[in-house]
């Protein structure tokens, strides 16, 4: 199973989307080290690949940000609220109920990708201000 995550890589996002998987945390889940410590506050634009498994299924995850929408061999993940946080459009709660216009833009983006590539898209969306339900 292959996933293309259309967000900047962070170890936190890896656990958010892919909790429950079996993974070599020390070697396969990148984080900052002595060598790259000065880059800690710079968004990671490069593709990050992580191999793991889940209930006897091999899984390959690519954090690709805006790239690789054309890949048709896996599932494309896009999270509305993570996208708002990445673009500094919300406060720390990650949700703002007056941003429905932004949701419309997001849906237009996903529709355009689907119409162009006919690929599998998984869209995460929190349904209400206090509910924090993820769809």
């Amino acid at each position: 199973m292959i996933f293309y995550v259309h967000h900047y890589y962070t170890y936190e996002l890896f656990w958010y989307f892919f909790h429950g998987v079996a993974v070599d945390v020390k070697n396969d889940v990148p984080t900052w080290t002595y060598e790259n410590r000065y880059n800690k506050n710079i968004k990671i634009k490069e593709t990050i690949k992580i191999n793991c498994s889940y209930k006897n299924n091999d899984i390959t995850i690519y954090f690709v940000n805006e790239n690789d929408w054309d890949k048709d061999d896996g599932y494309h993940i896009f999270d509305y609220n993570i996208n708002l946080i990445e673009n500094n459009l919300v406060a720390d709660r990650g949700w703002n109920s007056i941003l429905n216009l932004e949701l419309k833009n997001t849906i237009n983006l996903l529709n355009s990708k689907y119409l162009k590539y006919k690929n599998n898209i998984i869209f995460f969306y929190i349904t209400g201000n206090l509910t924090l339900k993820q769809r």
Partner: protein, 265 residues
């Protein structure tokens, strides 16, 4: 994904991943809820509480005020109310009900022994404002250490919010405003074959057990029994919560199920 229209409601292929609901409170850690998980080790040895039960309030709403009045009426020093400076701050709470809320706040502040938490103190006592991340810190340091047990107001039976998550991660005993909070978690635990939580009381709204709590808090032996029952509940919930997100992934489970069904056809 099917083609979706431009409305805010997606009609088809919708699936709720409960493991992502729980995980979304922890990662990305924008409001600091993850710290509560580590705070459990500190709370385990903390004994210097001011009272047995506290009802902490930040945002004042009518349901909370109803409970405040009932607690106040009992006149029991072991069941108290605390209120944060959220409402009388002009940083956030500005809406058409502000006048009513300010009146309610003044009413609460007049209660004897009410614990009023002022967020804008001098220098080190300045929490910076009323934003989600510093409200979370305020709650962790000021309110998990104030009473042995907290009452938490989660009003809908269809959802949970950060209040129960805070208490579960930090293994802090709590009594929910509605028992449906416990039932919501039990529905997730059941889904993943984990033992359901047996809460010491049966009720819909907390008002039904207030008199029991009033009596129990006045009897040390009974209180200790209840406290250990509530501690066991939250310890079990914490264990289950972690088990759910460490061993399962609702999204991938759904995809595996979908692919299996497809190959069978």
């Amino acid at each position: 994904m099917s083609f979706i229209d431009e409305s805010t409601f997606i009609h088809s292929n919708q699936f709720k991943s409960e493991t992502h609901v729980l995980s979304s409170f922890i990662f990305p850690d924008t409001i600091g809820l993850r710290e509560y998980y580590f705070f459990a080790d500190y709370l385990k040895y903390y004994k210097n509480y001011d009272c047995k039960i506290n009802f902490p309030i930040r945002r004042i709403v009518k349901e909370k005020n109803m409970l405040v009045r009932r607690i106040n009426k009992m006149n029991n020093d072991d069941i108290r109310v605390s209120v944060s400076s959220f409402t009388d701050s002009t940083q956030f709470e500005i809406d058409e009900n502000r006048k009513t809320k300010l009146e309610l706040l003044e009413e609460i502040k007049k209660i004897e022994k009410v614990n009023y938490i002022q967020k804008r103190g001098y220098n080190l006592d300045d929490w910076g404002g009323e934003w989600n991340d510093n409200n979370t810190k305020e709650f962790m340091w000021k309110l998990l250490t104030y009473s042995e047990v907290n009452i938490i107001p989660e009003f809908s039976k269809k959802r949970i919010d950060e209040k129960s998550v805070k208490h579960i991660l930090s293994a802090k005993p709590f009594i929910p405003y509605r028992l449906s909070t416990i039932e919501y978690y039990n529905s997730i635990f059941k889904m993943y074959n984990l033992e359901e939580i047996k809460f010491p009381f049966e009720y819909v709204y907390i008002f039904e057990i207030l008199e029991d709590l009033n009596k129990i808090t006045k009897d040390t032996k009974k209180w200790n029994i209840l406290k250990s029952q509530l501690q066991k509940c939250v310890d079990d919930m914490r264990y289950n919560f972690i088990e759910v997100i460490h061993n399962n992934n609702g999204m991938i489970d759904k995809l595996i199920e979908k692919n299996t069904n497809k190959s069978l056809l």
